[in-house]
């Protein structure tokens, strides 16, 4: 008997633009985010393509110096604030948190919708900046260049970041209250799927760190507009103070970007090995550990910035400590695969890719925590390679893996497995070709944010640009086959993967209220066997 599509679900519960733009349903809000975030991903990606095209030859001959400086700035701003930070929490988190805890929605559905509107307003402000002169300060907006010397749209950009931050803060707040107050009966803290632990830890960082970047962006705007002297030495201010305030948020921000992906990987590894995650409480506590320690290491961005020797040593030591919980996760995921029933379906390929690439990226973090080496490689392509291994090899692989895993639940459809495996392979190859040569370039000394470079660096740059073109193809393919699947994909059924978790006990797509009756949880989060279910009565 063919798998049936449920008759009533959240996607056909009301038609028309108002039913979407005024929805309170966390699942629809997740899709609203999916559309917006995907748009920004491709805009930021387009800038990356232009950057790599220009860098294929030593002189800056594709675009002007000023345009190039705007390209890397906007690539960074868009990817950090409009893609990496919201993607997994606002799309997968919004969709899954209530389902995973057995609730009908998040604690504050209207606040959730407001978060999306705030994101859109911030995004529109960003588009306004793009269209009316751009930004050329680097995403890091160091003073006094940003507050006095740049001739680009610093104030609207700072305000865009200020506004967008509130979207993250409110989403984080919503998740925290939901996880505290709305877990189904029987679901204690140590009975939750690990994705929720990661989401919770991420939300803690969101609510504590984002306000600091908000006030910092506000001070930059105020200084630039009114010539108040907070960071400009000509007015008595201290430019290094800007860096402390900026990195106090922006370091924890990178954990906002990676923790949700780690949460996804825990789910993927459990589901595609049909085995509980090894060392559940260690993985859960490591998420909290990363969140806490992540707030204590910001000075490792400032070893050569004029920070005192003793502060630098403390930050170095703490930066090594923050690596350890990440290592614990990697070992636990690896151990989970041992004697698992390992499927090679696409989400698992992304998970395996993540584990490998995140490990490499994280290990290069040890190079950077060690001040002796950091001095040589900071501000070079080594740094760029390091964070792209983690953000792209890590976060984006986690995001795509999660998207593919939960796509049947979100859309009710299966995507073509052959194409999805092919895309994963193209992405893996393209990614490594793009970013591995950059480690070598960095140690050679090629500085970052360079429009033109000495000719002896060209071969490595060409390899990197070639990789980028392959990577671009890899990212475009899923857009096509996922969209195709919405119309032509086979109905998935409630639990096409045979995975455990409350979200798989309801239909695909789920009904608007998720569960007709609040479930009572009696089993651990990873209990197998869980039946592959084609339809739910």
């Amino acid at each position: 008997m063919a798998t049936e599509f449920p008759a009533h679900h959240y996607l056909n519960d009301g038609y028309g633009i108002k039913s979407w733009l005024l929805t309170r349903d966390h699942k629809r809000i997740a899709l609203l985010y999916l559309i917006a975030v995907t748009f920004f991903f491709f805009v930021g990606g387009a800038f990356a393509v232009l950057i790599r095209l220009d860098l294929a030859t030593p002189p800056g001959d594709l675009v002007s110096d000023d345009t190039y400086n705007q390209l890397f700035t906007m690539h960074g701003v868009i990817m950090v604030f409009f893609f990496l930070i919201p993607a997994i929490p606002a799309i997968l988190g919004n969709f899954l948190v209530p389902l995973m805890i057995g609730a009908k929605d998040l604690a504050f559905p209207k606040l959730n919708l407001l978060s999306w509107y705030i994101y859109i307003i911030g995004g529109l402000m960003g588009v306004y900046v793009l269209l009316t002169g751009g930004l050329d300060t680097g995403w890091t907006m160091y003073a006094p260049f940003s507050t006095r010397f740049s001739t680009t749209r610093v104030v609207p950009a700072a305000l865009a970041i200020f506004v967008t931050g509130f979207s993250s803060i409110l989403t984080g707040l919503n998740f925290i209250v939901t996880i505290h107050k709305m877990r189904a009966p029987g679901m204690g803290w140590f009975n939750m799927p690990l994705f929720l632990w990661s989401t919770y830890a991420t939300s803690l960082i969101n609510i504590l760190g984002t306000p600091v970047i908000a006030i910092t962006a506000l001070l930059v705007a105020v200084e630039r507009l009114f010539r108040f002297g907070f960071f400009d030495p000509a007015l008595g201010g201290d430019p290094v103070l800007f860096q402390h305030l900026f990195w106090f948020y922006s370091h924890p921000a990178v954990y906002i970007m990676i923790l949700p992906a780690m949460g996804v990987i825990s789910e993927l590894v459990a589901a595609f090995c049909r085995k509980p995650v090894f060392g559940y409480s260690f993985v859960a506590f490591s998420s909290l550990g990363i969140a806490v320690l992540g707030f204590l290491v910001w000075g490792h961005h400032m070893f050569v910035a004029g920070q005192s020797v003793y502060a630098s040593l403390i930050f170095s030591m703490l930066s090594f400590l923050v690596a350890i919980p990440s290592a614990i996760k990697v070992f636990n995921w690896t151990a989970t695969m041992y004697k698992g029933s390992v499927s090679w379906q696409t989400p698992m390929l992304y998970a395996i890719g993540f584990i490998g690439l995140f490990t490499i990226g994280g290990l290069t973090g040890l190079f950077l925590a060690s001040i002796g080496v950091n001095v040589h490689v900071t501000d070079t392509y080594f740094i760029i390679a390091h964070f792209h291994y983690i953000m792209v090899g890590g976060t984006i692989m986690g995001y795509l893996g999660g998207l593919h895993y939960w796509w049947p639940k979100i859309s009710g459809r299966l995507y073509p497995e052959g194409l999805s495996k092919l895309s994963a392979a193209i992405i893996f190859i393209g990614f490594n070709l793009t970013f591995f040569p950059q480690f070598i370039l960095g140690y050679l000394g090629m500085p970052r944010r360079y429009h033109a470079y000495p000719p002896e660096f060209q071969v490595l740059n060409v390899l990197s640009s070639a990789g980028a073109s392959i990577l671009g193809v890899g990212y475009l393919l899923p857009m096509f086959y996922l969209a195709w699947s919405l119309r032509y994909g086979k109905p998935a059924g409630a639990n096409p993967w045979g995975a455990s978790g409350l979200e798989w006990t309801t239909t695909s797509p789920p009904p608007t209220e998720n569960f007709p009756v609040t479930p009572t949880v009696t089993e651990s989060p990873y209990h197998y066997p869980s039946p592959v279910v084609k339809h739910v009565a």
Partner: protein
């Protein structure tokens, strides 16, 4: 499961009980106030650092602030926290009239505060003490650069505080409307409670701002 024959009219569809809903609202506001602490905290950090580096310039600049007006404002704001607490108390006792009277009183006091603040700002304008706007510091010219930093912090910190007060008064207007319409009452009063929490927080920020800005070097 709870045994309600009819659900409370204020119970939202995604909560299982009014208790759960009110607890969630309360936790939500506490979390939000935590974010506000970090938000203002960044400013307090900047203030602390610059005051540590330039104590004399800061003391000199602080003496230009109007202590009588600042003290009146402090009393006004503390008073408004009292009236707000009375409003919450009235809500717990289901007294619609009490809620509305005390919220209106709180808003009156809040308006007085903002009025006095506006007066202080206009004084500063006339004394050429707004940074970036023909700032003059003729009496002690050696402090001019760092006094500008003091005043930059003064305007940003009190300005942000005032903005929070205006938002708070907007929230109170909303509470007045809900109370008049009968949404608040009959055991459902957490919106008033959490607006009260917010207002107390705004008061506490001022209690830190006042000595840090107005009272430098004024002991003894």
């Amino acid at each position: 499961m709870h045994n309600h024959t009819t659900a409370h009219p204020a119970l939202a569809h995604h909560f299982d009980s009014l208790d759960q809903q009110q607890e969630a609202a309360s936790l939500g506001m506490w979390v939000f106030l935590l974010t506000e602490i970090l938000f203002f905290g960044g400013l307090f950090l900047v203030y602390t650092i610059y005051r540590g580096w330039y104590p004399q310039a800061f003391a000199s600049a602080s003496h230009h602030l109007d202590i009588p007006l600042g003290t009146i404002n402090t009393a006004v704001l503390i008073g408004s926290s009292l009236t707000m607490a009375m409003a919450v108390h009235a809500a717990q006792l289901n007294s619609r009239k009490g809620i509305m009277v005390f919220i209106v009183l709180t808003m009156v006091l809040g308006t007085v505060f903002l009025g006095i603040k506006g007066l202080e700002y206009s004084h500063k304008f006339h004394e050429h003490l707004i940074p970036g706007l023909h700032f003059e510091y003729a009496a002690e010219p050696q402090f001019v650069r760092h006094a500008q930093i003091f005043f930059s912090l003064y305007f940003v910190m009190t300005g942000l505080h005032a903005a929070h007060m205006i938002v708070g008064m907007g929230l109170m207007t909303w509470m007045l409307i809900w109370t008049a319409r009968g949404v608040i009452g009959n055991g459902y009063y957490s919106p008033v409670e959490i607006v009260g929490l917010y207002w107390h927080f705004v008061d506490i920020v001022w209690i830190f701002l006042f000595p840090l800005l107005y009272l430098i070097g004024r002991h003894a």
